[in-house]
Amino acid sequence: MKVTVKLFASLRKDRFAVDDFDYQEGATVGHILASLNISEEEAAIIFINARHGEPDSPLKEGDLLAIFPPVGGG
């Protein structure tokens, strides 16, 4: 299945800003984090199609996954 992955802030370093990937059916956010060598601690904020997700959240064809390190501001 095709999933679009967006990375932000320090997670982009030595990786990418946005890319499409093919993953096996049943892959979770955690599988994708492992494939990108991002620890669960680093992936502090996860959105799947603009909704908060967790490392064990399942993904489906066409999902947009956005991953942020711990950030703040205001």
């Binding site: 967006k6 932000f8 802030a9 320090s10 982009r12 800003a17 502090a44 904020i45 959105f47 199609n49 603009a50 909704r51 908060h52 956005a66 942020f68 390190p69 711990p70 950030v71 703040g72 501001g73 205001g74």
Partner: protein, 578 residues
């Protein structure tokens, strides 16, 4: 910090000053000081620009000490924008310098008899007040250059630009940063108009010859400060993300969350967000020979500020904050970072609240005055405000007035004050804060984004109404307390997540003042401040109907979540029942 400087600008024969003891205001700082003075001394039904209103300027309890992050200044009055009590908060140097000079507050009161414009000069030898009409309608940046030429480069300035002199409801009070740029502002609620109504252009502070304030227990204070700084460095937000990207790191995150108000709250995602994001701007700043890491006051260890150069490498503005990038950017459909930096500079130099100004322009765009996305038109509109043309005066009166003048139905304000950069439908917790804060729509008053979006201090689902009132209540209470210490609110990211860092904040206060404050006493302080502010507003005629969002947030769903604001009125009304 054991005295108050009171200046009666309306005294017969010219301004009359008096230095008095703290009296009943002893033990108060920052927002607790400004709100207590306003609540006690300002008649709630007075006209905000009249002689009965007062402008209160107060450093926090820890300002002027060696405590890191303690450089926040509170500016309070009855707001010309909301008609309620106001505390607008600023970084920059003045809080530290004013505290070292020994002042717990400056109170400007009365109504000037003539139309002279004054400067107030405060140093270790005392206070001087001089009329200087050559400063009339001078911009903040030009004014500070002039003050530096007259009084040297050891000064810090608190000033108003032309907007404050014209008594515009979106006028700010500017504070200089360590390099004497008037780039940090007590922005909200038209505090600059009240300073203008008092006829004071600038307060020049020079603490040469003054020492840092001395703690009761120096050794404990030093230890506490060391742990506090270590805690801030250890936390990934205050130690890494804020210095690397500044507050504007939020553009991408709010956009990905579908909570980024675009084209006057029409939708929750902006196609141009990436072009004006913190990541993009930090890279651009570095490439142009400036950078995203800068302290707005001495003693700041987070350093979330930055410097934005133009394409030729010359200073254009300080790094525009997230709220500014949104108000002048996504809210207006503008995705040009250079234009946004120029708008930031113009706001700073004319002395305008960037949120109110940007939102007013977006409302004008909704009315068709100029087109969404037209950056040059937005720049021209801000210049109209600076010149005080009739159109400029309308926009400078803020979003609510602009909406009325141009017949716009959907105007994002609460208590007349423009909403900041988070759609309250897609982040229901911030909607509760916008609705209920005594300040009007103010994100800093109870920053639910931390927990709704950033997962700091736990997690409450932003798309559901459940739990939002309790979240906003707790944050509003904590914020009112932090705003009284002089501490930058960004310490909250670390103290929400790290109990030992919260303890070191308590230790700083306790070792400095010889107190035994606990977490509970901090909560009590916050509640007391909020109660004082709510009570003022009630006496000024506010009712529970004022604690509501504009109607369209209840009737028009916003994409991508297709969601309305769902927190019930009765729940909003229970926020202050503790």
């Amino acid at each position: 910090m054991d005295k108050i400087l009171r200046i009666d600008m309306g005294a017969a024969g010219g301004p009359k000053m008096q230095v008095e003891s703290l009296g009943e205001y002893a033990g108060l700082g920052g927002r607790a000081m400004t709100s207590s003075v306003v609540a006690k001394e300002v008649p709630p039904f007075c006209h905000p620009l009249g002689g009965e209103n007062k402008l209160v300027i107060a450093p926090g309890l820890l300002s002027g000490t060696g405590a890191a992050m303690s450089g926040r200044l509170s500016v309070g009055c009855k707001s010309p924008l909301t008609g309620g009590i106001k505390e607008a908060n600023s970084g920059g140097q003045p809080a530290q310098v004013l505290a070292r000079l020994g002042y717990g507050a400056i109170i400007l009161e009365g109504k000037p008899q003539g139309d002279d414009l004054y400067k107030v000069i405060i140093n270790k030898d005392g206070v001087k007040i001089e009329a200087d009409n050559s400063l009339k309608m001078m911009t903040n940046y030009d004014l500070v250059v002039r003050m530096k030429a007259e009084y040297g480069d050891k000064i810090a300035c608190i000033s108003i630009g032309p907007a404050g002199e014209m008594k515009m409801q979106s006028a700010s009070v500017a504070c200089t940063d360590p390099e004497l740029r008037p780039s940090r502002h007590a922005g909200r609620g038209g505090v600059g108009a009240v300073m203008g109504a008092k006829g004071v252009k600038v307060i020049v502070l020079d603490d040469t010859g003054c020492k840092a304030r001395q703690p009761k227990d120096l050794q404990k204070f030093r230890e506490a400060n060391k742990k506090f700084v270590e805690g801030l460095s250890r936390h990934p937000v205050t130690g890494q993300a804020l210095p690397a990207y500044g507050t504007n790191v939020l553009t991408n995150i709010l956009n990905e969350a579908g909570a980024y108000p675009t084209n006057n709250f029409k939708t929750g995602q902006f196609a141009g967000a990436g072009k004006i994001s913190g990541e993009t701007i930090a890279e651009l700043e570095t490439k142009r020979g400036a950078g995203p890491t800068h302290a707005c006051h001495r003693g700041c260890v987070i350093r979330c500020s930055g410097i934005y150069n133009d394409k030729d490498g010359n200073f254009l503005s300080k790094q525009p904050e997230y709220e500014t990038v949104w108000a002048h950017g996504g809210h207006c459909g503008i995705d040009d970072p250079d234009a946004i930096a120029m708008l930031d500079f113009l706001d700073d130099t004319y002395g305008l609240d960037t949120i109110e100004t940007g939102v007013a322009i977006g409302v004008a765009m909704q009315a068709g005055v100029v087109k969404y996305g037209d950056a040059q038109a937005a720049i021209n509109l801000v210049k109209e405000i600076g010149k005080g043309t009739p159109l400029g005066r309308i926009l400078g009166s803020g979003a609510a007035v602009t909406g009325k003048v141009f017949g716009v139905e959907k105007v994002p304000v609460v208590k007349g004050q423009a909403m900041p950069a988070y759609d309250p439908r897609a982040v229901q917790g911030i909607g509760v804060t916008y609705a209920t804060s005594p300040m009007g729509a103010d994100h800093t008053a109870g920053y639910s984004i931390a927990t709704n979006i950033l997962k700091s201090g736990g997690f409450v689902d932003p798309l559901k109404p459940e739990g939002q009132v309790a979240l906003s209540r707790n944050l509003q209470v904590a914020t009112a307390a932090i705003d009284s210490t002089g501490m930058c609110l960004f310490i909250a990211f670390a103290i929400l997540d790290q109990p030992d860092t919260f303890q070191s904040l308590l230790d700083l206060l306790n070792s400095f003042y010889g107190l035994e404050l606990t977490a509970d006493s901090v909560t009590e302080l916050g509640k007391k401040v909020l109660k004082t502010e709510r009570d003022f507003n009630k006496r000024a005629g506010f009712t529970k109907e004022d604690d509501r969002l504009p109607r369209f947030f209840y009737t028009d769903p916003v994409l991508p979540h297709n969601i309305k604001f769902m927190v019930k009125d009765e729940e909003l009304d229970s926020l202050f029942d503790w």
